[in-house]
């Protein structure tokens, strides 16, 4: 029989959750509520006044084809950066788990990228990928003009995608590695005795047992690629050239903080929030049943 600990005193239980609720209210519901209010008004930045305008902020955004371009771009960015960072991290984790030579060093070193702040990361990648002076500039000496993200939008988009994916490789790696190490050795040894080689064991045993972690990381990576990317974009490309790297979150930052259009930025944040919620629901609905928790 299962033993259960139950609070007999209802108020004691409530008292325990009050601090947490207060935190969530102060740092999430209150600002989010404020954003909803702003999205339906025209806010003067200095707080001098506001006017109720109904859905007109949303209509203005949703009828703007350039906004839709940024939505498509953000979705592509999420898919690509998540694919790269999870794919590379999985390979690295599987290899590190095999305890190849020097695996202790990899395990430590590969986590570092996640600890680097976005602006520093952006600066480093901007330096490496600068067409005229960066480490990559040698390609322009061989084939002049082949790499120029300052004017070629596709190349700029590749540059920010790689920078963002690189940051998350380390983060994904540590989760995957610890999940791999939690897989009982007996399973792998049994498979090895049955004659399964390393690639077969990875594909048939380790990866399926890793699915809860992969699912968790997928949700997290996709969510973060929508929210956490503006620092890198701001430093590396400022959304350019000609909006080629203008992601939804960067547009919110620019319109709100640089352009002082608080209402437009608030409406965009709400759309972004709904989009991220929808994507997360879809993932739970359609992917979770393929996850093996046990």
């Amino acid at each position: 029989m299962e033993k259960r600990a139950i609070f007999t005193n209802r108020w004691l239980g409530i008292a325990f959750i009050v601090p947490q609720l207060l935190l969530i209210f102060t740092f999430f519901y209150w600002p989010a509520g404020q954003a909803v209010f702003w999205a339906f008004t025209l806010q003067q930045p200095w707080g001098g006044g506001n006017e109720w305008v109904g859905f007109s902020n949303f209509v203005a955004i949703l009828t703007d084809h350039i906004y839709w371009n940024s939505v498509v771009r953000s979705l592509a960015f999420a898919a690509l950066s998540t694919g790269i960072s999870m794919g590379v991290a999985l390979v690295l984790a599987l290899l590190a788990d095999r305890e190849l030579g020097g695996h202790h060093i990899y395990r430590t070193v590969l986590v570092w990228p996640y600890a680097i702040a976005a602006p520093a990361l952006g600066l480093a990648f901007r330096f490496m990928l600068a067409p005229g002076a960066g480490m990559i500039s040698f390609v322009n000496h061989i084939w002049p003009g082949i790499w120029d993200p300052t004017i070629n939008g596709t190349e700029a988009f590749i540059a920010v995608t790689i920078a963002f994916a690189w940051k998350y490789i380390g983060y994904n790696f540590i989760f995957m590695l610890s999940a791999l190490q939690a897989i009982p050795h007996s399973l792998i040894e049994a498979a090895a005795m049955d004659g399964a080689g390393a690639p077969r064991r990875m594909w048939d045993i380790q990866v399926p047992l890793l699915t809860p972690t992969l699912f968790f990381l997928l949700v997290l990576n996709i969510t973060d690629s929508f929210q956490d990317s503006f620092g890198i974009v701001d430093i590396m490309t400022s959304g350019g050239p000609n909006r080629a790297t203008e992601l939804m979150v960067y547009k919110i930052y620019f319109d709100g903080f640089k352009g002082l259009d608080y209402s437009g930025a608030a409406a965009q944040s709400i759309i972004l929030m709904l989009l991220v919620i929808a994507l997360t629901v879809i993932q739970f609905r359609f992917l979770e049943n393929r996850v093996h928790y046990k």
């Binding site: 025209l42 806010q43 003067q44 930045p45 200095w46 707080g47 001098g48 006017e51 305008v53 203005a60 350039i66 901007r126 330096f127 600068a130 067409p131 005229g132 002076a133 960066g134 500039s137 120029d148 993200p149 300052t150 004017i151 070629n152 939008g153 590396m236 490309t237 400022s238 959304g239 350019g240 050239p241 000609n242 909006r243 620019f254 319109d255 903080f257 640089k258 352009g259 002082l260 259009d261 209402s263 437009g264």
Partner: protein, 450 residues
């Protein structure tokens, strides 16, 4: 208590006592000043603050860099909404209209008059005063760091093509760029067209040609101004830029590309650029001593009469919600920085111009403009006072200037990349810029320009 601990405690107590004693002697009123400059310039601002604090004992100004102009404005807005705003804040040129409509400040002219300072506002250089004054000529903010755009040119390179003067017309520029290219220079003309770096081309170019960027005299006469840069000479300018870019005469230089256009000029990699006189000091310090370079007023298209260029930079605003003694201190600081000796200090250590005629005269008398490396900066004053400010060369009084510049920057990037035609690109930028202006107008419905 162990001996080291005891010593530490005693030292702390002694320090505390000495602090309280010194504060009992003189109790300076502290007030905050937030500014946007960073790097070298921020150090000079800090020095100005130190000099003010050393010059008197009644007030102590605490100066804090916010990292950038944008951040200074954003942080002040956030602070103001939480009622924690600084007493003085530096706001960049294109934030002037937002400030004027904010109802969050004490007008500088009123502050100075209330505190017994008799400021001769007409002593400010025409272009400077025109930018910041209201329609009635009142100065709501105190001009501080001011600059204007100049043409920087490499004399060594031009000598190679047999020229000893900067090109005066854009037609000459075209010919010179070709000659420079033929003489083996990779980057005859280096510029940046990313978001905020279009001001030389859009705003300054239009001003010296005497053409409007927007109707209603660039917004001075009403919030309903519409952008018109997609008609007339600016289209011709962009067409020429595109043609020079395609011929390899114009090269984009930005931090993203590995070297920004000012550095590229100072390193001798580009032979010509357009930038602020505020960079004159930087170029002087970083260019090789063997490199000969100079500055000139912006070129004009042949047959155009030169008008004054616009002042750029920032002015100081005094925020509402402080005590009378803090305002006395703020007034004392604003009075301090307008003294001719301070103008000399400020201009010597930065590249910015003196904002008053008295400051300028004082510097001329001191032989400032005759000495290397300051020689050449007088061109900025000549450019700013090339004519009396006309209705369209007072400045930009548009609410959504960051968005407008972004639209123009995006358009230029698309045009140079060849994805749209010149006219189409500029038309789109104007249309989208106008949407931002309309939104600004709607946000401030019922307000009129002061």
């Amino acid at each position: 208590m162990s001996a080291p601990r005891l010593i530490q405690a005693a030292a702390t107590a002694a320090l505390g006592m000495s602090l309280s004693i010194s504060s009992a002697f003189a109790d300076p009123v502290k007030f905050d000043f937030w500014f946007g400059n960073s790097g070298d310039i921020a150090k000079v601002v800090q020095k100005v603050c130190d000099n003010f604090n050393a010059s008197q004992s009644d007030y102590q100004i605490v100066c804090t860099s916010q990292g950038s102009y944008d951040a200074a404005l954003q942080n002040t807005i956030a602070a103001y909404r939480a009622n924690k705003q600084p007493t003085i804040v530096q706001v960049f040129d294109i934030g002037t209209l937002t400030m004027m409509l904010s109802d969050a400040f004490v007008p500088a002219n009123k502050l100075m008059a209330d505190n017994g300072y008799d400021v001769d506002w007409n002593a400010y250089i025409g272009g400077v005063k025109a930018y910041y004054a209201t329609s009635k000529g009142d100065m709501y903010s105190m001009p501080f760091n001011s600059s204007t755009a100049l043409l920087y040119w490499n004399q060594d390179a031009f000598k190679k093509i047999g020229k000893d003067a900067a090109p005066a017309t854009w037609e000459d520029v075209g010919a010179d760029l070709k000659a420079l290219k033929a003489a083996g220079y990779d980057c005859p003309f280096g510029i940046d067209v990313s978001n905020n770096e279009v001001w030389q081309l859009l705003e300054q170019f239009s001003a010296v040609h005497g053409i409007p960027v927007a109707t209603q005299n660039n917004g001075y006469d009403g919030l309903d101004a519409e952008l018109v840069f997609n008609k007339g000479k600016f289209v011709q300018m962009v067409t020429d830029l595109k043609s020079w870019y395609d011929q390899g005469l114009l090269v984009l230089k930005s931090k993203q590309a590995g070297e920004d256009y000012v550095t590229a000029f100072a390193n001798g990699h580009c032979q010509m650029t357009l930038t602020s006189v505020g960079d004159h000091g930087t170029v002087g310090r970083t260019a090789s001593p063997d490199m000969h370079w100079s500055v000139a007023e912006l070129p004009l298209y042949a047959g155009t009469e030169r008008k004054n260029s616009l002042v750029g930079g920032a002015s100081l605003w005094v925020m509402k919600g402080h005590t009378d003694v803090e305002y006395k201190g703020a007034a004392a600081f604003l009075n301090f920085i307008r003294q001719p000796e301070q103008a000399l200090f400020w201009s010597t250590n930065t590249g910015y111009i003196p904002v008053t005629k008295t400051g300028y005269d004082y510097m001329v008398k001191n032989g400032f403009y005759d000495k290397f490396p300051y020689k050449g900066r007088e061109v900025a004053i000549a450019s700013l006072s090339a004519s009396e400010p006309t209705p369209v060369t007072r400045g930009m009084r548009l609410g959504a200037m960051p968005q407008v510049r972004q639209e123009v920057g995006n358009a230029l990037q698309a045009i140079l990349a060849g994805t749209v035609t010149v006219q189409q690109g500029l038309d789109d930028a104007a249309a989208r810029g106008n949407e931002a202006l309309r939104k600004f107008e709607a946000t401030y419905k019922g307000k009129t320009l002061p």
